[in-house]
Structure formats: C-alpha cells, structure tokens
C-alpha cells in the first residue's frame, strides 16, 4: 500500500477497512507481467474468466487487457490461453 499508513490512534476501531480493496494495488507483488499477442488472440475471453484477481478486462473491441495495477503475475492466463498468445515477461 502506498503513502503514509495511519498510526493506531487514527485507524478505525474494530479492524475496519478504511480503504476499498480497489485502492489496494497489488500489481507490484509479482516478478512477471503477462504480454498479450493480439495477432494470435481469438477473443475467447478465457483469460478474463481464469484471472483469480479479476485483473483482466474485456475491451469494447473484444480483446482483453491486463490491469497492471492489480496483476500479481501468477501466470494462470498464460497457462490457460488455448492459442498460447500470452507470455509472461519478467519485469524490468
């Protein structure tokens, strides 16, 4: 989580989440990012359904796109893609 974290006096009691999980960006956890080769993609959307983080969206044009703010780099999309159009690329 980015930014200054609140101290115990500021935090809400009852271990209540003071931020939505959408603000909790887990994209910096992994070591690899998926790279989609859209020339091979058949728009089957399986990567969208398999992504355990819900980080793969379906665009207007039917192609999928990875939201790197949340992608943990698990590689399930690359593993499940029936035409092997997703490759995992090591982060720089």
């Amino acid at each position: 989580m980015s930014g200054q974290k609140p101290g115990w006096r500021e935090l809400p009691r009852g271990a209540v989440s003071y931020k939505s999980s959408t603000e909790y960006e887990t994209g910096d956890w992994g070591v690899e990012n998926p790279d989609i080769d859209r020339s091979k993609c058949t728009k089957c959307m399986l990567c969208h359904f398999y992504c355990p983080e819900g980080a793969i969206k379906v665009r207007e044009d039917g192609f999928t796109e990875v939201d790197l703010r949340y992608c943990k780099g698990c590689g399930i999309c690359a593993e499940e893609c029936p035409v092997s159009c997703i490759t995992m690329v090591r982060k720089k």
Partner: protein, 413 residues
C-alpha cells in the same frame, strides 16, 4: 454485600430465590437482548435452558439460536453483534475451550458481547466441578473478566456488563464468571431490580463512529453503508489494531468504576474492581477470586476474634487488571497469600500470583507474597483450609521470608 442505598430503593426490589444460573438468566431476561446463541448440551448449564423458557413463553423479544457447537454459538453472537444486535451466550469449561479462536475474534472486532462463564475444570480427566482453569486460559483473549462471589453479584454483573462493554471508550466483550455448582447450582437470595429500571439503565445499544471505505458511519453492518470488519491484517496493520485493544483495556479501568457507580444508583449495591475487607491494619492478607472469598471473609472475622490481624481482598475484575488500586489497597500489609484456583503448568506460579508479583516488583514497599493453589477440579475449599493458609502466612510473617513460594493446598501428598 455492600448496601449503601436508600430504604426506598430496597423496597422496590424483589427478593427472589435463585441459583447462579437462574440469576444470569433472569438478569438477561430483563436486559432482553436481541440474540442469544447457545449450544444447549453439556457442558452447558441451566442458564440457556431457563432463558429458552422465557423465549417460549414470549417474555422476551430475543431470537434464540440453538447452534451445533460452542464455536458456532460465539460465531453467531459475533455476527449478530457486528450487525448491531445485543448478543449474549453462556458456556463452561470445554465449551469455552471450543470457542477459543472466536473469543479472540470477538475482542479484536471490538464487539461488546456478554457471555456468562460457569467456571468448571477443563478435561481431562473428565471433571465437571469448579475451578478457574477455563476462564484463566482465556485471560489473554481480550475480554473483560468479572469474577463473582455470590448469586447477587452474578445478577448485578449480568446487567452492568452490557454498559461496561458498550462504553464508547471500551467496546469490548465481557465474561461474567461464576463458580460452577458452588454458585451455579446453589439457591440463594437475590434482590432484583424492577424491569423498567433495568431497561432504563441499559437503554439502547449506542454505536461508535468509524471511518470505513465508504466514509464515516456507525460501527455496525449496514447494507446502505457497507463496512468490512477484520479482514486480512498483516505485518503492516495487525500490530496497530492490537495496540487499540491494549488502549481499550486501559480505558476500561476508568469506565468500569463509572458504570458501577451508576449501577449503585439504581441498585444500592456499590461494586469495585477490588473489594478489601479489614485491610487497614492487616498483618496477613489473602487475595483471591470467586465464591471462595465468602469463606475467606468469614475466616477473617473468626481470626480477628482470636486476635489475628487478618484481612482479605476479593478481586472482582481480573481483566483489566487494577494494578494501581491493588498497590494502594495492599499498602503496608507485609504478608499476602494468593489463592489461585488454576494451575499454569511449568509456570513460576498460578496466574493471579504471577500478576501480583509483577505488580509489586518495581515498588519500593512490597509485601512477601506466597501462592496457594487450591480447589482444582472442585476440591473443597473449607474454612479449615483457609485457616491453614492464614497460618502459613503467619509463619511467613514470623520468619520474615517465604520458604515455599508456591504450595498446593488440599491435595493428598
């Protein structure tokens, strides 16, 4: 007892014959909580049986949930309390042991549940009688713990506990502990307050305000303004949340006497964290918890008549531990014996002994302290046994040292 109320106040109260279990059930009937969840079979006591009769007879508005285990009973109360309900449950011994993980969750989610614990020995071997091994094991779970001497105290604590736990500075669950059989199954006279006065004292549950992910809201689950309570809380937040619990207990030290003072106004019975008896000029004193302290008080009078300067302190509130008040009350008393009704295997002594020794370590003026572990598995704590403890304390006094730091009294050698 500690009556300091008006005659008129007493006249409004009805004297009832009740055992400790019934005193819990009756007080809870008057409180009329929203939810009672309980596992109805052994080691459960008469408490929820009697309360379920109130439900069946339409005398309360409570949703009674007969669950399949104590783990579920407390889980159910946690859910209900998170949704804003007043939730109550009762258990004993192994039932509390089965609740274990949920006791920590109730406290860390800051849910002011009230739970009656009928103190019974933990198996094994199988034993259903009284000692404090069950609730002493739960002393670090983050609950306020009140230990009662008699059924009157049980009744009063089961009303006042709601206000203590729900105090805005506190927001913690409360265990009201009563000795199995000695209190739970023994008929006593209990003065009861009229229903409407209990209702007025208890009022509606008030909620603190928290800042959730949707903004400021009452601390209760509400689909309009959703809250997430107690999700994954790792190295970066858990420690802060534990500190909040430490702080809540510290503030409870102030809040509990406030509630006790208010309760005295409607009951005429004024309770404290600690109850000293003939301590002012005492040369030997006993400190302990629960029903045994009635026997100790009797023995203090008997010994005083014989010329022994005996005193005693009954510890009513064990969590939060009233350290400063204890130092104050013990004052100049040179020899203190601790009665522990639980053993901590491999520890330097019983749980109460350890805390009392810790309390005095930094004090320039400190008494000689000896631990007496007694009554395990319901072994009788007779007046003779208590007299023997005072005799040991007098020996310590004359020798000026504690030869045996921890003794086990009432056990066959």
């Amino acid at each position: 007892m500690y009556y300091d109320g008006e005659e008129e106040m007493m006249q409004k109260q009805i004297l009832m014959g009740m055992n400790g279990d019934e005193a819990v059930a009756y007080a809870t009937k008057q409180v009329n909580p929203d939810v009672v969840a309980a596992y109805p079979i052994t080691p459960q006591t008469i408490i929820v049986e009697r309360f379920s009769e109130y439900v069946a007879d339409g005398l309360v508005d409570t949703e009674f949930v007969a669950v399949e285990s104590e783990h579920s009973a407390l889980s159910n109360c946690i859910g209900a309390a998170a949704a804003g309900a007043r939730a109550f449950t009762a258990t004993a011994a192994n039932g509390l042991a089965l609740m274990w993980e949920m006791t920590y969750i109730a406290a860390s989610l800051r849910l002011p549940i009230v739970m009656a614990i009928v103190n019974r020995a933990l198996s094994g071997p199988i034993n259903i009688h009284n000692d404090h091994s069950d609730s002493m094991g739960a002393r670090d779970s983050g609950w306020i713990q009140i230990y009662c001497e008699n059924s009157q105290e049980v009744y009063d604590a089961c009303i006042a506990a709601w206000r203590m736990g729900e105090h805005p500075d506190v927001q913690l669950p409360v265990m009201v502990c009563l000795d199995g059989f000695t209190l739970s199954h023994t008929m006593e006279n209990v003065l009861t307050i009229p229903d409407e006065e209990v209702r007025e004292f208890i009022g509606e549950r008030k909620f603190i305000t928290v800042r959730g992910h949707m903004g400021e809201t009452e601390f209760r689950l509400n689909p309009e303004i959703p809250l997430t309570m107690g999700p994954l809380d790792l190295q970066d937040f858990y420690f802060e949340h534990k500190l909040q619990q430490v702080e809540a207990m510290r503030l409870a030290l102030k809040a509990i006497p406030e509630v006790d003072a208010e309760y005295a106004k409607i009951s005429g019975r004024r309770y404290g964290m600690l109850h000293p008896y003939r301590m002012e000029d005492a040369e030997v004193a006993i400190i302990g918890m629960g029903s045994t302290m009635g026997t100790v008080m009797h023995m203090v009078d008997e010994l005083r008549a014989e010329g022994v300067k005996a005193g005693m302190i009954k510890m009513r509130v064990f969590r939060p531990f009233p350290t400063e008040e204890l130092i104050d009350i013990i004052g100049d008393v040179p020899v203190v014996g601790v009665l522990d009704k639980a053993a901590s295997f491999g520890a330097p002594g019983g749980p109460l002994y350890e805390e009392i020794k810790t309390t005095f370590y930094d004090e320039a003026k400190r008494p000689l302290v000896a631990d007496f572990i007694y009554g395990l598995g319901g072994r009788d704590a007779s007046p003779t046994l208590i007299k023997g403890v005072y005799k040991s304390l007098e020996e310590i006094s004359s020798k000026g040292e504690v030869a045996e730091k921890v003794s086990y009294v009432g056990v066959r050698g």
